[in-house]
């Protein structure tokens, strides 16, 4: 029994963090989705680091790794609120399409959504996957997309007229990976919001002292840390269950999404409150993480939907076994 990561798995995440720290400058971020998304320097650097080939088999030029090897990378993408369909391409879609050219090196981008749902960053994607129940269909880009302006300029959303596409196997697994990807990014984003709020509380002064010395703020921040710390292990475990093909994988990704979504909503709320009025402006970069959270929480099912999935497994099916 070992609940931790190998040196290789941690080093991969560190490499991604270094790229995101050096390439995703405030200027790149502020320049908008198209420039900083898949056509920008961040996408290029992540391609060179092999991020897009993580789940692509070696015979197709990828690294042939699994969900567990990649989950820390997803967390980093959330920690940085990285723009562009990176997680969607590399993690959600690539395993279904990896025999097609361009997936191992980030030459193509792909996004996915539930039928009738919103496709993020579809304007920069080459391939769209729509999931109806457990049936995935692939739709070539270039169709008629309708832009749906949102609160978050760094994550544009689109709808697609009902279109029939080529059926693909692996829809259920795609959904589980999409849920895990949203949960892992939410944990990363929550950690950033906690860090930012703590940092602000240590420097901002009122009544002649740092506001972080007041117990009312201390307890808010401690409670937030509690939520983040007890969401993260569920995410890691879900990645393990997917990588190992465990029978409980769907239940486990749902459990991860429940606590990750709750932690993230809590993080967004607390970060604004701790920052006060400046937290309510778009002059502060904090907004990118807040808005990423508000998008990721409902995407691929919110906490309510996933709690119901866990209830069905644990209460109705009696699937209470912890480690199959």
């Amino acid at each position: 029994m070992r609940f931790g990561f190998t040196a290789d798995q941690r080093e991969l995440a560190v490499a991604v963090r270094e790229i995101l720290t050096s390439e995703l400058t405030p200027e790149v971020r502020a320049s908008g989705a198209e420039a900083s998304g898949r056509r920008g320097p961040v996408w290029k650097a992540l391609s060179e680091a092999g991020v897009f080939g993580l789940l692509v088999p070696e015979e197709h030029g990828g690294l042939g790794l699994n969900e567990l090897d990649s989950v820390l990378v997803l967390e980093e993408l959330g920690l940085a609120a990285a723009p562009g369909p990176v997680a969607e391409t590399a993690f959600v879609c690539a395993p279904l399409l990896s025999d097609r050219p361009g997936f191992a090196d980030g030459a193509v981008a792909a996004v996915a959504a539930e039928a009738g749902g919103y496709l993020p960053d579809a304007d920069v994607a080459d391939v769209l996957i729509v999931l109806e129940g457990e049936q995935a269909r692939v739709i070539a880009a270039g169709g008629e997309l309708t832009g749906q302006p949102t609160v978050d300029p760094s994550r544009p959303l689109f709808t697609l007229p009902a279109a029939s596409g080529e059926p693909l196997d692996g829809g259920a697994a795609l959904r589980d990976r999409a849920v895990l990807a949203s949960a892992a990014q939410l944990v990363g984003a929550s950690q950033h919001l906690l860090d930012a709020a703590v940092e602000y509380a240590k420097t901002r002064k009122q009544f002649g002292r740092e506001i972080g010395s007041f117990q009312a703020l201390k307890h808010q921040l401690a409670d937030l840390m509690l939520d983040v710390e007890f969401a993260r292990p569920l995410v890691y475990r879900a990645a393990y269950s997917l990588a190992e093909g465990k029978s409980t994988a769907s239940r486990d990704v749902s459990a991860a999404k429940v606590n990750a979504a709750q932690a993230a909503e809590h993080a967004a709320r607390t970060a604004i409150q701790v920052h006060g009025a400046i937290g309510y402006t778009d002059e502060l970069d904090l907004q990118y993480w807040l808005k990423r959270v508000w998008w990721l929480v409902p995407s691929w099912g919110d906490a309510i939907a996933h709690r119901a999935r866990v209830a069905a497994a644990v209460i109705d099916a009696g699937a209470t076994m912890r480690t199959p």
Binding site: R2, F3, K202, K218, E229, F230, P233, R307, A308
Partner: protein, 384 residues
């Protein structure tokens, strides 16, 4: 990452399960906060010890099995799964013993630990005072040096099961001139000693689970000082690390209770989406606690210390325990307030709920734990 168990760990689990299923009393024992129940639980401790299962993580020479941390977690899972009796000796076994292993002399370890392990000596904590609760360093009970030992005076309170227990471990002010954290010493004394008076205090459930302990010129020989005189605060903080960290509330307890909660919901006649969501959330949180504990075990095996992060642990399990038991009471509706001996009662949920309510108070209130997390983990500035 690998959540599977080794063949050795699997056979440890099988042996624990086999023994427990053969020995756990079919009928629940009387409450351990009554004289009759206390003695019945002591008999159970004797039986556990005779089977070799009382203190699995201790070395063999003190009655243990030298079990690894993972094996200890497995034993706890099995213990709670089968619904075995509460551990009447837990304050000694889980709180004092780790401190004795760390600070006790060899003589103390050899003298004290075997009799703690077999249940002959049940220990009670004598820390809090009427004026020293969360502010533990405000202790005013005194210890004065005399020839061959110390003389204790003062009043302790909220001492769990001191009415029936044999020994107490307590903090006393041994140097009134020293700064308040530096003048404390950790003493061990029998509750039958001359000058000790114990007054029971009934808890919310009506039973004498608490006591006040009055010390009037109680002589304690030098051999019953734990650690160096004046180092009581440091020794005590080691105990709180055990209290808040791994040993007090193992994941097995919450895994078993959330599985029972899921069964209660499945079999009950009250179907409501909100209640189902609460049951699922409790189950998820128990799973989160189990996995978080695996992470802690991994860090400990790598030689890292847990430190102030144990406060996160304590916050989480104490809130979770209330969530679980309160959800059970909601599922039961009006039956939830029935005592376990009522004809219509279903299980121990009310008793478990009342017990859970104490969680955010004992072992350092949750307000203190939030301060610890904020100041020592998040490094926020100290308050006024």
């Amino acid at each position: 990452m690998d959540l599977t168990l080794t063949p050795q760990e699997e056979s440890f689990r099988a042996a624990a399960r086999e023994w427990l299923e053969a020995h756990v009393p079919a009928k629940p024992l009387a409450s351990l906060d009554t004289q009759e129940g206390f003695e019945a639980h002591r008999v159970w401790e004797h039986e556990l010890h005779a089977g070799g299962w009382a203190v699995v993580s201790w070395p063999e020479e003190y009655g243990g099995k030298s079990a690894s941390l993972v094996e200890w977690l497995i034993f706890e899972e099995e213990y709670y799964r089968v619904g075995a009796p509460r551990r009447v000796g837990q304050n000694g076994i889980f709180l004092l013993a780790p401190t004795i292993f760390e600070f006790g002399s060899e003589e103390q370890q050899k003298r004290i630990l075997p009799r703690m392990a077999n249940g002959d000596e049940i220990w009670s904590q004598a820390w809090s005072e009427p004026g020293a609760g969360s502010d533990l360093a405000a202790i005013r009970s005194t210890a004065s040096k005399v020839d061959g030992g110390w003389v204790l005076n003062g009043q302790k309170t909220w001492s769990t099961r001191a009415v029936f227990a044999d020994w107490a471990f307590g903090l006393f002010r041994s140097d009134p001139e020293a700064p308040r954290h530096a003048g404390l010493t950790y003493y061990l004394f029998p509750l039958s000693a001359k000058g000790v008076t114990v007054r029971p205090i009934r808890q919310l459930d009506g039973e004498a689970g608490f006591a006040e302990v009055f010390c009037d010129d109680v002589f304690v020989p030098d051999q019953d000082v734990l650690g160096v005189p004046g180092s009581g605060w440091k020794v005590a903080m080691s105990t709180t690390g055990s209290e808040r960290g791994l040993t007090l509330r193992s994941p097995g307890r919450f895994m078993a209770s959330t599985d029972r909660l899921a069964a209660l919901c499945r079999e009950g006649d009250r179907v409501d989406p909100t209640l189902r969501a609460d049951v699922a959330q409790a189950w998820i949180d128990a799973e989160a606690y189990r996995l978080y504990t695996f992470g802690t075990v991994g860090r400990m095996l790598a030689g890292e210390s847990v430190g102030a992060e144990s406060s996160l642990n304590k916050l989480f399990w104490s809130e979770l325990d209330i969530d679980i038991t309160q959800t059970a009471l909601r599922l039961l509706g009006p039956r939830g307030v029935l005592g376990a001996d009522a004809p219509d009662a279903e299980g121990q949920w009310l008793a478990d709920f009342l017990f859970a309510l104490a969680g955010p108070i004992y072992a350092g209130t949750n307000e203190i734990q939030r301060n610890v997390v904020a100041e020592r983990v998040l490094k926020l500035p100290k308050g006024a």
